[in-house]
C-alpha cells in the first residue's frame, strides 16, 4: 500500500466530538467512522497514549482492560478495534 504521511504533525485522522459521541474522518481512505460514546472514549484513550503514533495492538488491549475495565473479547469491542485498525491507530 502507498502509505500516507503518518507523522504526528500532519494527522491522518480528523476527530470531531459530537455530544458524547464523535465522528472521525480518515484522510488516507476518505472513510468516515461514527463513534458511539463508548467508542469515542476508547478512541480518546488510545489516541492520548499513542500521542499521534499507532500503538501496538497488545498495548491497546492492556489499556482497555486496565484503564477502562473493558473485556476486549466482546463482539462490540472487537468491532471498535477493527475500525481503529482501519484508521491506522493500531499496529503490530
Amino acid at each position: 500500500m502507498v502509505d500516507p504521511d503518518r507523522s504526528p504533525r500532519s494527522p491522518r485522522l480528523r476527530y470531531r466530538q459530537l455530544g458524547d459521541g464523535a465522528a472521525v474522518f480518515d484522510t488516507a481512505s476518505w472513510q468516515t467512522h461514527i463513534l458511539t460514546p463508548a467508542a469515542a472514549v476508547i478512541f480518546e484513550v488510545l489516541a492520548e497514549s499513542g500521542s499521534g503514533e499507532a500503538i501496538a495492538t497488545s498495548r491497546a488491549l492492556e489499556l482497555l482492560q486496565e484503564e477502562l475495565e473493558l473485556d476486549p473479547g466482546t463482539p462490540e469491542i472487537q468491532q471498535v478495534l477493527r475500525s481503529l485498525q482501519e484508521m491506522g491507530m493500531l499496529g503490530g
Binding site: M1, V2, D3
Partner: protein, 369 residues
C-alpha cells in the same frame, strides 16, 4: 497565432487563461459563461481552477458564481485523484513486487507530484510492462480479481493483435479501468519508438512501487497521444500536458537538444514537431525557434492547421456542429486510423466501426465527468 477556425470566440479566452491565469482580469461574466463550458468539455476545468485558485491575488477578480464552478471542479478532481490512489494501492498489492511496472500519463504525473497533475482529471490507470512481462502481469491481475470488460470477439482480436494494450481490465465494483500496455504506440502503426530505450530509462520514484517513463519520453508519449487516440476532442488537454511537462522538465538549450535527439531516436520527430507548433501558438509555451527538427511539407502543415483546430478544440456544446468541423473530424479520425493501423486493416476497422455505429448509440452519456 494559428487561426482557430470556426471555434467560439471564447476559445481565445480559454487559451489565454491556460497560458496565463492573470487573464482573469480581462474576463467578464459573458466570457466566463462560455469559457467554463468550453473548459469542462475539454476536461480542463479542474486544471484551470487550480491555476486560478492557487494565486490568491487573482481571486478578487473572479465573480463568486464562477468561483463556485472552480471549487466544484477542484473537489471533483481531488475525488478522482483519490480514486486513482486507491486503485494504484490495490494494483501494487496484486502485482508481484519483482515485476517492473511503469505508470503512464495521469498516474505518473500524480506520483511525480508535478504541477500539471494539480486539478487534472485522471481518466483510467495506464500501466506499461515489457512485452515479455505482459502475460505475467495479466495473470497476476486476473487471479487477484480484475476482469476484462465485456467486449465482442472482433474488438478483443483488435486489441490483442494490433493494439498496444490489452482490453481494459476492471476490478468488479472499482470505478477506474486499468489498461495494460507494452509500449506507447500501436505495434503495427507507422510510429516505431525504441521500446528498449523506453524500458532501459524507466525512472524510480522514492517510496513508490511504480516506475515512470524518462521525463523526455513522457513528453514524447504525450505527443504521440495527441495524434493517436480516437477521442480527438480530448486533445487540447494533451497539449496542456505537453506544455506542463516542458515547463517541468525542459529548461536549457541543452535540454531542448536532448529532447529533439531523443525524438529522432524514437522516430517521433513529426508528432513532436506538431505538438510544439500548437503548444507555442496556443499556450505560449517557450519553444525555441531553431530546433533541429525537420518540418513537414508546407502543404501538409496547411492541411493540418485547418484540421487540427477544428477537431481538437472544444465547442460551446449546445450550438450546432458546423459542416467544417464535421469534415475535419472525419479527416482527423481518418488520419488517426491511418497512423494506427496497417492499410489492409484500416478498411476492416472502418467497416466494422461503421456497422457498429448503426447499432449502438447510447442515450445515456454523462458529460460532467
Amino acid at each position: 497565432m494559428i487561426a482557430l477556425g470556426p471555434a467560439d470566440p471564447c476559445m481565445h479566452e480559454l487559451l489565454a487563461l491556460l497560458a496565463d491565469p492573470r487573464h482573469v482580469h480581462n474576463m467578464g461574466l459573458p466570457e466566463w459563461d462560455k469559457t467554463i463550458r468550453l473548459a469542462r468539455q475539454a476536461r480542463l476545468l479542474g486544471v484551470l481552477a487550480q491555476r486560478i485558485q492557487s494565486r490568491n491575488e487573482l481571486l478578487a477578480a473572479v465573480p463568486e458564481c464562477v468561483l463556485g464552478h472552480l471549487r466544484s471542479a477542484t473537489a471533483f478532481a481531488a475525488y478522482r485523484g483519490h480514486l486513482l490512489r486507491l486503485e494504484l494501492a490495490a494494483l501494487a498489492e496484486a502485482l508481484p513486487p519483482e515485476l517492473p511496472v511503469a505508470v503512464l500519463k495521469g498516474a505518473a504525473y500524480m506520483l511525480q507530484k508535478l504541477d500539471l497533475a494539480r486539478g487534472r482529471l485522471p481518466n483510467d490507470v495506464d500501466l506499461m510492462v515489457a512485452h515479455s512481462d505482459l502475460d505475467g502481469a495479466e495473470t497476476a491481475l486476473r487471479s487477484a480479481g480484475w476482469e476484462f470488460e465485456e467486449i465482442d470477439a472482433y474488438t478483443e482480436r483488435y486489441y490483442r493483435q494490433w493494439s498496444h494494450e490489452l482490453p481494459p481490465l476492471r476490478f468488479p465494483g472499482h470505478p477506474l479501468e486499468v489498461d495494460l500496455h507494452h509500449t506507447i504506440t500501436p505495434v503495427t502503426g507507422r510510429l516505431r519508438p525504441d521500446t528498449a530505450l523506453l524500458l532501459a530509462d524507466l525512472q524510480t520514484l522514492p517510496g513508490e512501487r511504480f516506475l515512470v517513463l524518462h521525463p523526455l519520453d513522457q513528453i514524447l508519449h504525450a505527443a504521440v497521444h495527441l495524434f493517436q487516440d480516437s477521442d480527438l476532442r480530448a486533445h487540447l488537454r494533451d497539449l496542456v500536458d505537453i506544455d506542463g511537462l516542458i515547463r517541468a522538465h525542459v529548461h536549457s538549450h541543452q535540454d531542448w537538444q536532448t529532447l529533439t535527439a531523443r525524438a529522432v531516436r524514437h522516430q517521433l520527430e513529426r508528432p513532436l514537431w506538431y505538438a510544439l507548433r500548437y503548444c507555442r501558438a496556443w499556450l505560449a509555451t517557450a519553444v525555441p525557434e531553431d530546433l533541429p527538427l525537420a518540418a513537414p511539407p508546407t502543404a501538409v502543415i496547411r492541411l493540418f492547421d485547418w484540421v487540427f483546430p477544428r477537431c481538437t478544440l472544444p465547442r460551446v456544446p449546445d450550438q450546432p456542429v458546423g459542416i467544417s468541423r464535421r469534415a475535419a473530424e472525419r479527416l482527423g479520425t481518418l488520419r488517426h486510423q491511418w497512423l494506427r493501423l496497417p492499410p489492409g486493416l484500416l478498411l476492416r476497422q472502418l467497416a466494422h466501426k461503421g456497422m457498429r455505429r448503426l447499432r449502438a448509440r447510447p442515450l445515456v452519456t454523462d458529460q460532467s465527468k
